[in-house]
């Protein structure tokens, strides 16, 4: 089949297309209002909700720390560090939202789609949150508890915290895009609510790379 024939076939479908949508200023204005809930903004909305919940969490913890009035240093230090981690995650998510809002659809397709896919796969950028896990095993410590438990404290509580620390650091180091081929990494990502979009984004990033290679 000749090239011109292919192009003629493509043109021939013009008359089959529905052209009912007549553009006018009124329609454009109503579109502007309606598209505040644009499908393309769903990622920004998801991250926006996470920021909102993160702020609530920080406020709740801050009230607890303030209420504690430094009575228990273990509690104050642990919860304060959890607050720091959450604030850092909120900052990362706000940066993502800004990047989504700045996304330029008029740039070359492979460039825009790459940026978008990277943003969708950006769950990995907040994996540092794993490092706060050990503090969830120390916030309830107190001098009374340490004295009361005696050796049991050093034989049970401390090893648990150490185990969580080692595990958190190890998972943090290994949970990377480069390790996505490993079964346990995929299983772990699978357990997050964003997993489908993360996998799709990673697959599409690979597809773009292949496409650019030719």
């Amino acid at each position: 089949m000749e090239d011109t024939l292919l192009k003629d076939l493509w043109k021939a479908q013009d008359k089959k297309l529905d052209q009912a949508m007549k553009l006018n200023v009124y329609l454009l204005e109503s579109l502007q209002k309606q598209k505040a809930e644009s499908k393309l903004n769903s990622l920004a909305r998801f991250k926006g909700r996470a920021v909102f919940l993160g702020i609530l969490w920080v406020l709740f913890l801050a009230v607890l720390v303030y209420g504690n009035q430094l009575k228990n240093m273990y509690f104050t230090v642990s919860v304060s560090l959890i607050i720091v981690f959450t604030i850092l995650a909120i900052i990362v998510y706000i940066k993502h939202i800004a990047l989504i809002k700045e996304l330029d659809y008029s740039k070359p397709i492979t460039d825009t789609q790459k940026k978008l896919s990277r943003l969708q796969a950006s769950t990995f950028n907040t994996r540092f949150l794993l490092l706060q896990t050990p503090f969830y095993t120390t916030w309830f410590w107190s001098t009374e508890m340490i004295n009361g438990m005696g050796m049991k404290f050093w034989l049970i509580s401390v090893p648990i915290t150490l185990a969580f620390t080692v595990l958190a650091v190890w998972v943090y180091k290994n949970l990377t895009l480069e390790n996505m081929h490993k079964k346990w990494v995929r299983k772990l990502v699978n357990s997050t609510p964003e997993h489908t979009s993360v996998f799709k984004a990673i697959d599409f990033l690979n597809e773009i790379e292949e496409f650019k290679k030719g």
Binding site: W10, K16, L23, K35, S38, L40, S42, Y105, Q113, G214
Partner: protein, 167 residues
């Protein structure tokens, strides 16, 4: 602002058909097609204030329309798969009426384009829209050599498809 809107709409009106062709190639059901056409129009209008004229209006428009279509397609792909299970891909009535050679060939071409991956689909649409290799490369952000190689591969596959159909 009003003048800007009028100018945008008149430029868009001239190129309107391409929006429908893109929607038709990226969405299988009517509801999604209408939704995508609105989304593209909205994103074009949003980006219009940043249009500096450093590239041709059509190049700029293809970039926005195809970027939106690909993003939209990737978001709605799952729901489309469900719809396909419950709705036949082609209307049996259409098959009876579309007996002509031309209709058969148009359907084969459309089916071929539908089966392509998102980026290859964009490439094929631009090729069929008679864009030069240089412009296709500029829209997609790849080299001209890559454009030529990919188009040649796609055409070979398409020719095979047509020859199987005719034999």
């Amino acid at each position: 602002m009003q003048n800007n809107k009028e100018e945008f709409l008149s430029r868009l009106q001239e190129q309107q058909l391409i929006i429908y062709k893109i929607c038709n190639s990226y969405c299988k059901n009517e509801y999604d097609r209408a939704d995508l056409a609105q989304e593209i129009t909205y994103q074009l209008w949003r980006s219009y204030s940043h249009f500096k004229g450093d590239v041709k209006f059509s190049t700029w428009m293809y970039r926005v329309a195809l970027n939106v279509a690909i993003t939209f397609y990737r978001k709605t792909k799952t729901s489309e798969a469900v719809i396909q299970l419950t709705e036949p891909a082609t209307d049996p009535e259409d098959k009876k009426e579309d007996g002509s050679e031309l209709e058969k060939n148009i359907n084969t071409l459309q089916q071929f384009i539908n089966e392509l991956k998102e980026l290859d689909k964009a490439l094929m649409i631009l090729y069929l829209e008679e864009k030069s290799y240089a412009e296709i490369a500029e829209i997609l952000g790849i080299t001209e050599t890559n454009v030529a190689t990919r188009i040649s591969r796609a055409k070979d596959k398409l020719k095979q498809k047509f020859s199987t159909l005719n034999n």
